[in-house]
Amino acid sequence: MLADLIVGLIVAALVVYGAYRFFKSTKNNTCAGCSGGCSIEERSRCKH
């Protein structure tokens, strides 16, 4: 049960973080990996 809780929380955290990065990058017109093209201002906004 404890293992389920810990693994579930880790997965949930990863998913929430991934979704956050996705929406940030879409909003800032940058790719999720931010491979270039975006300015430093955009990067500081999207926390890449």
Partner: protein
């Protein structure tokens, strides 16, 4: 304190920026790479006495000694001609940096000093960084820096930004000048209507005084001789095709392909799932959670990450080619072809940048002055297969065309054909004539920097891993969840009863004329719009296949596609609208929703029609039997032809875009 880096395009501003800030911004050996200003802190080693708090102005502590370096897009003149030149002008005149570091390409002194003399007239302190000293030495030329500094009235520091030469002196001079007032040299004809001509004459006089050429400019160099072959009107294009084919063959069949094969088949295919099963069994994890982590997350993310070595090798080789100066020649080669479709050689630069990622590619289109050309380039750039599409090509290539070296080049060839046909069609529909002049100063060929190539490769790898561990992971979780549960949130035994299958079934009929049968293919198409790599991970999950099985020629993918429909599926994924983030970049560059809608309709129609034609014609040719959905395919094709004909006819009765703008101005 703010230091602004300003200079002509391809003078080495971003190389200098990276060197003095420790950043790894994208650097290309051609003009127009930087289209937006970039800001970073000056490295502590270059702060000198300021690092000890002697010269700072402003607030206290850390902020007091903060030195921001601003990398500006290249400009030939303080009077802007293109969008990115406006960024430079606005920053220099509007935000008044404490010091301007004017990067001058020492190999093109005459061209560069025109802008320098304009900067000196702003009154802001200027330091001239005489860059590319290594090339000057190679040419056997000498520049009298003391005399140049005397004439200009500002410090002139010889530097070689790529080798880190002279940077300490440059930054120390720049920091010491903060707060001072710059005086400008005076020349005859200044502040008159013919000022530009007078300025040119003044610059010519300066160059005659300070430059001692090591060789006669009329002497044909090795670089000139190479250019006669690689930038040749007829041979240039086949040579480019050969170079690209060699790069892709080396990446796929060499180290990259081998390492990717190992990662897919052994590491993510066997070792990781086996270890995860053992660990989860030992801790007694719930079976559903086990399935989520192993089949959903590890299976999907692993299927994408397996292609990391291939992408790293590919981008390493591309960076070497780019740094050598060859890519700038491609712009020249393509100019004559692009002119015929209403574009210019300037449009090739966004497309080359777009081969890494469509987003910077789309953004690079803003260097094009003509609005119509810019819009059309923005619409066409996503056709170039980006790094996200490479895993999809590699997967389908491995399963349906094992051992073939033509799959990757074929996709680029089709992209090239579509860009030419699409450009021609859009030129006719929007009724405009390209007006952009394309003048590019070809950089000298140079030995590519291994460090630069490794940096670019590491950047691409980082980007790929971040994307796989964020957005791909989220989508995999969503795909696993919707495939495991029904609408009533009950676990389903048969995935065809799941929410995912239901959603896929709704759009599946639309894909029948393309030969994509079943909800699995429909779902992969949908997730591909979020990020193209999702196509690979989605198939790994919905086909419940481990990586080694997914990549086998007789594997589960072969139950959904034939080689012909697989090729059509690849084409649809490559040439239909790009991912959401790239669509966002298109929206920003096109400026309004109307143009974005036009672009998306154009891309969707192109991707759909190309895939449909490949399936219908290909199946008929290969099997002698019509493919499923022949009748709707004929109807759709007729509708597309009718729409295109209507749009082409309509343009003869309406004024062209440029004429309409003129009329609006007149009224």
């Amino acid at each position: 304190m703010k230091l602004a880096l300003a200079g002509n395009p391809n003078s080495g501003k971003t190389t200098l920026f990276n060197a003095i800030t420790g950043k790894t911004e994208y650097v290309g050996n051609w003009p127009g790479v930087t289209v937006e200003k970039k800001v970073a802190n000056l490295r502590r080693t270059y702060k000198g006495s300021l690092g000890l708090g002697l010269h700072g102005k402003g607030g206290d502590g850390e902020h007091k000694n903060r030195v921001l370096v601003v990398d500006l897009p290249g400009a030939y003149s303080i009077t802007p001609y293109t969008q990115e030149e406006t960024v430079t002008r606005d920053f220099i005149t509007g935000e008044s940096p404490d010091v301007i570091i004017n990067i001058v390409d020492a190999t093109s002194l005459e061209r560069s000093l025109f802008f320098t003399t304009q900067l000196l007239e702003l009154g802001l302190p200027v330091v001239v960084a005489l860059n590319k000293q290594d090339l000057v030495r190679r040419q056997g030329s000498k520049i009298d820096c003391k005399e140049l500094a005397h004439i200009l009235g500002c410090p002139v520091i010889p530097v070689a930004a790529n080798a880190g030469e002279g940077l300490q002196e440059l930054t120390s001079q720049a920091l010491s000048l903060a707060g001072s007032v710059q005086s400008a040299p005076v020349f005859t004809g200044q502040a008159t209507s013919g000022e530009d001509k007078s300025r040119h004459r003044f610059v010519q006089e300066i160059v005659e005084k300070v430059l001692h050429r090591g060789r006669d400019a009329s002497v044909v160099t090795l670089s000139d001789r190479v250019d006669r072959i690689v930038a040749h009107a007829f041979w240039g294009l086949p040579i480019f095709a050969l170079v690209m084919w060699a790069i892709y063959t080396l990446s796929i069949n060499g180290l990259g392909g081998w390492a990717s094969g190992y990662l897919n088949d052994t590491f993510f295919g066997e070792m990781v799932p086996a270890a995860a099963y053992r660990f989860f069994a030992a801790i007694g994890l719930n079976e559903l959670l086990q399935s989520l982590v192993i089949d959903g997350i590890l299976g999907g993310v692993g299927a994408v990450l397996g292609f990391l070595p291939l992408i790293m090798v590919l981008f390493f080789l591309l960076a070497l080619i780019e740094d050598s100066g060859y890519m700038a020649r491609i712009a020249v080669v393509m100019d004559r072809y692009f002119k015929r479709i209403g574009l210019s050689g300037k449009s090739i630069i966004p497309m080359i940048v777009g081969s890494g990622c469509s987003i910077p590619g789309v953004m690079a289109s803003r260097t094009i002055e003509d609005e119509n050309e810019r819009r059309v380039t923005t619409m066409l750039t996503p056709f170039v297969p980006c790094s996200a599409k490479l895993p999809v090509i590699a997967l389908f290539g491995a399963v349906f065309f094992p051992g073939a070296t033509w799959v990757f080049p074929a996709m680029y060839l089709i992209a090239g054909i579509l860009i030419i046909l699409g450009g021609l069609l859009l030129k006719k529909i929007f009724n405009y004539e390209g007006s952009s002049s394309f003048i590019i100063e070809l950089p000298e060929y140079r030995l590519p920097s291994l460090r630069h190539a490794l940096t670019q490769m590491a950047k691409q790898a980082k980007s790929f891993v971040i994307k796989a561990s964020t957005i791909i992971l989220v989508m995999n979780t969503l795909v696993w969840f919707t495939q495991t549960y029904s609408w009533s949130l009950r676990v389903v035994e048969d995935p065809s009863q799941s929410m995912l299958a239901a959603a896929g079934t709704i759009i599946a009929p639309l894909l029948i004329p393309l030969g994509f049968i079943g909800w699995q293919a429909a779902v992969a198409v949908l997730t591909g719009f979020v990020a193209k790599e999702n196509v690979v991970s989605t198939f790994a999950i919905v086909l419940a296949a481990s990586e080694d099985l997914l990549f086998t020629p007789a594997g589960p993918l072969a139950s959904i596609f034939t080689p012909v429909t697989a090729f059509a599926f690849l084409s649809f994924n490559l040439f239909a609208p790009p991912c959401f983030a790239a669509i966002g970049a298109m929206n920003a560059e096109l400026g309004n929703r109307k143009w974005l809608s036009r672009a998306l309709v154009f891309q969707l129609t192109t991707g759909y029609t190309v895939a449909m034609l490949i399936t219908q014609v290909g199946t008929l040719l290969v099997t002698g039997q019509p493919a499923p959905g022949l009748v709707p395919a004929v109807v759709i094709l007729a509708a597309v032809i009718a729409c295109v004909t209507y749009l082409l006819r309509k343009r003869t009765t309406t004024p062209s875009l440029s004429r309409a703008a003129e009329l609006k101005g007149e009224s």
